[in-house]
Every structure is written in C-alpha cells, then in structure tokens.
C-alpha cells in the first residue's frame, strides 16, 4: 500500500475548468479524476472539443490568462496541489518536472531564435546543478543527437527544418531537463503518417530510456493501443470510460461512445463503401445537455439518460459511466 502511494506521480480529483468571456461561460472540463503512476503512460482520447487540451493546460496552469479558470478540484503532483502553488513555484515546475509537447510543431517554435538558443533556454531556466555554459551546450548537442538531429544544425532556425524535424526539436526541448511527466498534446496530428510512426516510436523509446511518465492526448486509437498503459475516453469535458489498455481494447463491455469511436475506424479486411461516424456533433459547451451528456447522440439512449446523471460502474480497473450497465452489477457509485 505504502509502495503504491510512493509510486503515484499525479492525481487529478474532480477537476472543473471553465472559460469565461463577456458573452458566455464555456464548461470545458466538468469534474474529471484520474491517477498516473511513475513510468506509466495514460492516453486521453476523444473528439475535438472534448476538453483534452484544456485538461493538459490546466495541469501546467497555462490556461489562457483572464479567461480560463479552474473552478474546482485538485491537481496533486508529487504530493503538492498545483492549483494552490505560487506562480513562481509553478515556473520551476514547468519544463523541469512537467513539460509539454504541443500539437503543432510548425508554430510552437519561435521563428526568430535559433534551435540552440531555444533548447538552451529551457536548460538555463532550470539549471539546478549550476552547470556552466559549455556544459549546457554539450547537453544541447546530446539532446539533439538523442532525437536524431545532427548537432551541426543547431545554429539553424525553425524554418530550415521540416515538420517532423521541428517536432523532434520540440521533443528534445521538452526532455532537456529530464522531467518526471511529459504531456504530449496530439504530438503527431500535424505530421504525415510515416513521420508519425517515427516520432511515436522515438517518444516511446525515450520515455522508457529516461523513465518518465506520459500523458498522451490523441484522437487516434491506434496510437493509444501502441503506446499507452491506461486509457481515459473523454466526452464533453467528462471521462466517460477509463481503464487499462486491456480493459479498453480487450473487454466486451464499453460505453456506447467508445463503441462508436471504435466503429468509426474503417476495417481493412471488410469492404466498407462508407465510413461509419458517430452521428451528430459534440454538444455546445456553453449549454450542455442534462443527464448523460452523450444521450442526444447515443444509439442506445433510454428515458433515464436525459434525466439522471449516469452512475460510475466499476469492473476492477475498468470504469464506465453509463446507465446501460446499472443492472448488470459491478460496483455502483453515485455520481
């Protein structure tokens, strides 16, 4: 038991995030909870607008200033609640203990600073071992080599690199200070498929080599199956199903939304003239539906779905938030 607590790196409890503008309040994340142990990889999947990126940004407290707010919940990282620590403490955590890889490598590097300058910056900001300039520069070379970029290109600028190379630079930057946790927000979405595979296998390899934990945000279930230990499926700011990789990919019972997600992947062996998407759109986050937020699109919706919040059904490590499985046992817990 004690060992388990020691291993726990990140715990999020009932996190709620809103974006407030003069016109609207957008309920982006509505009470999600999950845990992550050291060395584990958690995949967060879901459609665009499900609140995946918002969750990631709130862990680092990088929500858009003045608009994004954490209204409730705790983010406990190494025993410390990140929602409470000071901004200067937060700056020490960012990049040093938790770092983030952003979605679009084309825009996430500063166009007027050289690659070396940008990598060096992360190292200088968190120079806890008081290394001198030459040692830091050696570390830059080392990091570039690690992600497969020849070190003689370090004086070049972002526009001189291809998309895949830029993402490697971003990854090198995120890994430079040996963080405990990497949050990768759709790291391969902007890349073409062959480069995707390269970048992913590199990330997986580096993660294992350096012993880090990772939160991988994606909408690609194939990537999740390949890289993650745990999966959380998000819909309209809630985690509607979560479990180990075996639970999600192996077990029979699933949330109807997860079923829809799997159903929308074309099967190579069966000839299908059309893709089978989930009908309808993500609900308007300023005006979420009552009861289960998926009920307007759910093919198996019952009367109760629009009236009551669905229960959390647990089968060991596998959790489904749905009315459908209420009668079938499992551990019931009122939401």
């Amino acid at each position: 038991m004690n060992n388990e607590i020691k291993n726990k790196l990140l715990e999020i409890r009932n996190l709620k995030v809103v974006y407030e503008t003069d016109l609207d309040t957008i309920y982006a994340v509505n009470g999600i909870s999950f845990e992550l142990d050291k060395g584990q990889t958690l995949g967060i999947v879901g459609e665009t607008g499900a609140g995946k990126t918002t969750t990631a940004l709130s862990i680092l407290r990088l929500l858009p200033q003045d608009i994004g707010k954490i209204t409730e919940g705790n983010i406990i990282f190494e025993g410390e609640d990140l929602t409470l620590v000071s901004e200067s403490m937060m700056r020490k955590i960012r990049g040093e203990k938790i770092s983030m890889i952003f979605q679009d490598p084309m825009t996430s590097l500063n166009p007027v600073l050289s690659i070396e300058r940008q990598l060096l910056e992360a190292l200088e900001l968190h120079n806890t071992q008081n290394r001198d300039k030459n040692q830091l520069k050696a570390r830059v070379d080392e990091m570039l080599e690690l992600v497969g970029i020849p070190k003689n290109r370090k004086h070049e600028y972002p526009h001189q690199f291809s998309g895949g190379m830029k993402q490697r630079v971003v990854i090198a930057m995120a890994l430079a200070c040996n963080p405990l946790l990497i949050i990768a927000d759709e790291p391969t979405t902007a890349l073409d498929v062959t480069i995707q595979a390269q970048v992913l296998s590199m990330m997986k390899e580096l993660k294992e080599k350096l012993g880090m934990s990772m939160i991988l945000i994606t909408h690609d279930l194939g990537i999740v199956a390949e890289t993650c230990d745990k999966v959380a499926v998000m819909y309209a700011g809630e985690i509607i199903e979560s479990g180990s990789i075996e639970d999600i990919f192996g077990r029979e019972k699933h949330h109807p939304y997860t079923v829809g997600l799997f159903g929308s992947i074309p099967n190579l062996e069966i000839e299908t003239p059309r893709l089978s998407p989930i009908d309808g759109l993500m609900p308007d986050p300023t005006n979420l539906p009552s009861g289960c937020k998926f009920h307007p699109r759910c093919p198996e919706a019952m009367e109760i779905c629009s009236e009551e919040l669905p229960p959390i059904i647990e089968y060991g490590s596998h959790t489904i938030v749905c009315h459908k499985f209420k009668k079938e046992g499992g551990v019931n817990e009122k939401n």
Partner: protein
C-alpha cells in the same frame, strides 16, 4: 547580400525616370510661365518670349523630358530660375535642417511609441492601457499644423520658453520635432500594441511559458523581436513621410529646410529646382526603404536566408 543591395539600387533608375516625367507633366499644367515671373509683369513681350524659349518653356513635354534626362545624365540638373545657381547647391545647404528634423522626430517617435505600445499590450484593458490608447487616439487625429500652432501659442507666446521660428539652437528644434513626432508616435504606439497582442497569442509564446520562462523573458526574448518587424517597416516609412511631410511644419516654424525651398520654388514656377528637390526626396526615401529591408534581414532569419546562401 551585395548583389541584393545593388539590385535594389538599380531599381532606383526606373523610379527616378517615372518621377521626373510626373513632375514635368504636372508642372506643364500649372498656369504662368517662368519668364514673366522672373522678369516681372512689366517686361517687354519679346524679352519674355525670348527668355521662355531659352528656358525651353515652349518645347513639347516629351522633348523637355528627353532634354532633362540627357542633361541629368551629364550631371547637369539645371540652374534655379530664381537664384541662377545649380539646383543641388541650394538643396545641400538646406538639407541638414530637414534631415535633423526628420531624424530627431523618428528617434522621438521610437522612444515614445515602442515602449508605451509594449506597456499597453502587456497591461491590456488596465488603466495604463486606457490612458495610452486614448492619448494615442487624440494625437493621431490632431492635424500637425494645428498642433504646431497651439504649441507655439502656449510655449512661445504665453510662456515664452521656446522660440517659435528659426534653427539657431537645439531649443529651436524642440517644438517642431515634438509636433512632427506626436502623431507618428501615436501611430507607432497603436501598431506596437497590436503586433504585441498578436504575438502574445502565438504558440511559441505558450511553448516558452511551458518551459518555465518568466514574463519578462517572454516579453523581451520571444515577443518583442517578432512584434517589432512590422514596427520597423512602419518607422522607415514614417521617416520618408517625415522628410517630405515636414512641409507644413517647416512653414509653421519658418525653418529654412528643403520643404520651404520647394514651396517657394513651386510658387515661382522654378521647374529645375522643384524637380531636383523631388528627385532628392525620392532617392532618400528609396535608400531609407533599403535600409529598413536590411534591418529586417538582420532580425528575421527567414528573410536573411533569402539573401545569404
């Protein structure tokens, strides 16, 4: 790089040919002939006709144009009708006044506009931003000559602190430089503010924040360099405008610069002098723009790599 500079300087040639044509074209429409202005209304008809013929006044436009270009190629831009001296000698004497005026104004513009623009952007919607943007709005919409007259009224007539005309000491430059710089500084402030706000939203700023960079580092290292590119172009353009746009200000403050020379020459129908002054301005503006582009390349590696292999 050298090739680029030379190429840019070569583009001056068609620009100058066009400008000379336009000036001669417009001057040919203005009423009055140089001889009657030079000799006075009472001069005998034959003398006027003779002088006009000598000056080439009766030549068709294209002939005038060809003659002018031919002489210019031999370094002869003509004599001023008014003073009978080579036109550029007058320009060279008066140029320092105009240059000083424009140069100090651009410096003042940058010193006021850029920092206040940055502060405004960083403190968006806070009181200091409100004050800066409202002041900018007022100064940007004030006509320069009117602002100049008001300043003369206040500082020269009422308070008797600063001189209202002449170029003797640095004191003579305070009011005209401020008058010239105020509206441009207001524009630069607004531009800096908006480009800063633009860069604040960029992904690479978020990346820098995710690295743990402090706000100050983010503003000075990540945002400023990107935000200043359009501001520098604008400052370059403003410098050109200030060189030529000082016309009203030199008149209001009675400063013996090129602008007052140009106005007098236009009144006297002193075509060689007007043409030469405009050519001079055109060359200055082109060189300024070239310098701006070079500074651009210095700051932005994306542009630099286009010129240097």
């Amino acid at each position: 790089m050298y090739r680029y500079v030379i190429r840019r300087l070569l583009t001056l040639i068609p620009i100058l040919l066009g400008i000379i044509f336009l000036v001669l074209f417009i001057m040919s429409f203005t009423p009055g002939d140089p001889a009657s202005l030079l000799l006075g209304q009472d001069a005998p008809e034959e003398a006027i006709v003779q002088l006009n013929t000598e000056l080439g006044y009766y030549d068709p436009l294209l002939v005038k144009y060809a003659k002018y270009i031919w002489n210019a190629l031999h370094g002869d831009f003509g004599l001023s009708y008014r003073t009978q001296k080579p036109v550029f000698s007058e320009i060279i004497i008066r140029f320092p006044v105009t240059l000083k005026l424009a140069f100090y104004s651009v410096i003042l513009t940058a010193i006021i506009g850029i920092p206040l623009g940055i502060i405004s952007a960083v403190k968006k919607y806070k009181p200091i931003d409100m004050v800066c943007t409202s002041c900018a709005m007022v100064f940007a919409s004030l006509p320069r000559f009117w602002l100049g007259l008001l300043l003369i009224l206040l500082f020269s007539v009422e308070l008797k602190l600063l001189p209202s005309n002449g170029v003797g000491t640095w004191k003579h430059f305070v009011l005209p430089v401020f008058t010239l710089a105020a509206p441009t500084a207001a524009n630069i402030l607004r531009l800096t503010r908006s480009t800063m706000l633009e860069t604040i939203r960029q992904d690479y700023v978020r990346t820098a924040r995710a690295k743990g960079a402090s706000e100050r580092l983010i503003i000075f290292r990540h945002e400023l360099k990107n935000a200043l590119l359009p501001v520098i172009t604008s400052l370059g353009v403003e410098f050109g405008v200030l060189l030529g746009g000082a016309i009203l200000i030199e008149t209001v403050f009675s400063m013996p610069g090129i602008s007052t020379l140009m106005i007098t020459s236009i009144r006297m129908k002193d075509t060689p002098q007007v043409t030469a002054s405009i050519i001079f301005f055109a060359i200055l503006v082109c060189i300024t723009m070239l310098l701006v582009d070079l500074i651009y390349a210095l700051i932005d590696p994306r542009i630099r790599s286009k010129y240097i292999k």
